[in-house]
Symmetry: C2
């Protein structure tokens, strides 16, 4: 008979990532409820506040997501009145996502979300920057590895 395993969850880096992601979720959920967004919707808005009128694909590249996820999500943002979706005149395959007045105004309401989340982290700025940098590096490695196997 196989005895108790020696592999525990806390040895798995992927589990730390996974569970910390959920912990973040629990923090910002109430913040986003207040302004009528979900977290992935907020990310799309951040990308649009940065540069308005992007295509679905351009947004997706930044978020590492594709149209199968983004199309319905953006349609919900459209229903909520934050964006409009318009086919590109030059290339009708593409859909450009454009902020509405309401969508631009939302930026102010969402202004203090990053600070609230930062405070919940209980880390100082340097620690956050360091951790952030390491995670970006890890993500890049994982993407390269994924590309190699595919």
């Amino acid at each position: 008979m196989t005895g108790a395993s020696s592999l525990t969850l806390d040895q798995l880096l992927c589990f730390s990532i996974y569970s910390t992601g959920h912990a973040f979720n629990r923090i910002y959920k109430p913040l986003f409820d207040r302004i009528g967004l979900t977290y992935p919707q907020y990310l799309v808005m951040v990308v649009l506040w940065q540069e308005d009128g992007q295509t679905v694909r351009s947004i997706g590249k930044k978020l590492f997501l594709e149209s199968n996820t983004l199309t319905p999500l953006i349609k919900r943002l459209e229903s909520a009145g934050f964006v409009s979706r318009n086919r590109d005149r030059e290339d009708e395959r593409q859909v450009r996502v454009v902020l509405t007045q309401k969508g631009r105004k939302l930026q102010q309401d969402a202004q203090d979300v990053p600070r609230c989340v930062f405070e919940a982290c209980g880390l100082d700025l340097d620690e956050v920057a360091d951790l952030n940098h390491k995670l970006v590096k890890l993500r890049t490695s994982l993407e390269n590895a994924a590309d190699r196997t595919v």
Copy 2:
């Protein structure tokens, strides 16, 4: 008019976590496809290989999940023949999840998953341990913050 925002995604620690989680997913997806599990199902199996016969709640505490997520997931593990679900005789409210022969055998097939994922990380053991430790610390802070607001 509000100009371009200064807030970028790469400043957000939560986005690093979120996107790195997805990058992990892309790495282990093919590994889990091969053995007929999803990642969350694998985590449940890891917990059970560690200690068989746990209740749904006990599994949930370790994974930071609740019965609304776990019940259907474990039912799928049951359909796949990896576990059986039995009401506890002492306390009929609880359901004990017990590995089948097939579920125990799966441990061997899943044996090299952690190593494969580790290799994709492109980090050495110390770096992984360090990052892991920082993430656990962060997760703990976030949980405490969440408890305080609730």
